[in-house]
Symmetry: none
Subunit: 226 residues, 2 copies
DNA sequence: CATGGCCGTCACAGTTCCGTCACATTCTTG
DNA sequence: CAAGAATGTGACGGAACTGTGACGGCCATG
């Protein structure tokens, strides 16, 4: 079963080169020349991975990346960004964009294949939402609606519990306040983003020592660390 | 001996896609386009697994699932449900439906195969609804339609009994009011969710000390604790 | 036809929880 | 090091949620 890779670049030669190398390596490849087409194809095919050039006409790679993350159908597809400028790297990784890796142009095909292989290898194991999660002494059980620390249950309100599970399910990835508002509170941004801060505080209080898992990423949002 | 898989979907293209992928992976595949045909084929062939779309004309996937579970010939065949809405997941898993796993559309063929492999690997599902349950001094007997506390029978109405058994069979798991309405009151969504509260109160009154098993999870629903 | 049991709904009350604001603290930037 | 921005913290009023008592309708039974 060949993994399917969607290549997005506006230069036909670049696409051709990528396509050739990837097919050679045994992947199924499809391509898109601009952001809109990329989103459409990604939705339709749900590829196993997207290789995405930052520089695109109209909608740039950052926008595409954001949009991919927003939709449930594509939110968990790994993204490898291609960029010409080293300065863009910061944005590509840490931020709300959450690309899985990047490469600066120019790069060797071998480099590209290595990155892809690495990302796909770890992707398989983390695809499904888990019903029960364990991080050291902290256990989160979704169907039972219970969280516990060293076997002792932690009393959480509905919102706190949902906030915790949302962060934990995306462990390692930073979640912006807006993203959390969408996922935890569901209705769109009628609510002040600072409300997230307050709930994080309450959650930290109740978690006690387990709150060490909850990171603040200044200027961006919050993150659950294992 | 190839494992036999029954695919149920009303869209011919979807069936074709599934069929192709499954055959490719070495399974024997048969297909049905609606619920009635699915039940008939399942009875006749006793497949090793059913892949079942929720959205079907006339009889939907939930109904099919229920009916499969009801008949002895098919009651223990693993079922993998396909659903477009994340909101339906709770229903697919938690309830009397007891599907073995689910996938939200769209999904990659690779994902599908992984799930199927996992389910088949663990063999024939062994879970069946227990006819008698005991939680300390509380005994619930389904066929006799009796509940008792320290050997003394508790007089319950039909609705109260069904509410109790529904919660007890899913002991530990929180059930939302909507879930309970669907499960206990069958498909009557015409009813106010607050009605559940009233019946919980009556049930608690009659259970007396045994009502300690009945938890309220604020903002979510109710839960039976062992 | 009357009666009683059961059920669904409603209104009310107590309580919890939530969203917001103001202020304190920490971090970044120049 | 100081200014400004971002985050942590404490407090508060209102909204939301659940428990509870009561009521009327339905149905079977006598």
């Amino acid at each position: 079963m060949k993994p399917k890779i969607l290549v997005v670049d506006d230069e036909p030669e670049a696409v051709e080169l990528l396509e050739f190398n990837l097919k050679q390596a045994g992947y199924a490849v499809s391509a898109a020349g601009d952001g809109a087409a990329a989103l459409k194809k990604a939705r339709a095919q749900t590829p196993d991975m997207v290789v995405l050039d930052v520089m695109l006409p109209e909608m740039d790679g950052f926008e595409v990346c954001k949009n991919l993350r927003l939709e449930p159908a594509t939110s968990r597809v790994p993204i490898l960004m291609l960029t010409a400028k080293a300065a863009e790297i910061d944005r590509v990784l840490g931020l709300e964009l959450g690309a899985d890796d990047y490469l600066t142009k120019p790069f060797s095909p071998r480099e590209l294949l290595l990155r892809i292989k690495k990302i796909l290898a770890r992707g398989v194991s983390t695809e499904k939402p888990r019903e029960q999660m364990r991080f050291g002494d902290l256990v989160i059980d979704l169907p039972r609606h219970l969280a516990s620390w060293k076997g002792k249950t932690i009393e959480l309100t509905a919102t706190e519990f949902k906030l915790l599970t949302t962060l934990a399910q995306r462990a390692g990835r930073v979640q912006s306040r807006d993203q959390l508002l969408r996922d935890v509170w569901e209705y769109d941004s009628l609510i002040d983003t600072r409300t997230v801060d307050t709930h994080m505080r309450r959650l930290r209080e109740k978690l006690g020592p387990a709150s060490k898992h909850l990171d603040t990423v200044r200027g961006v949002g919050y993150r659950f660390m294992e």
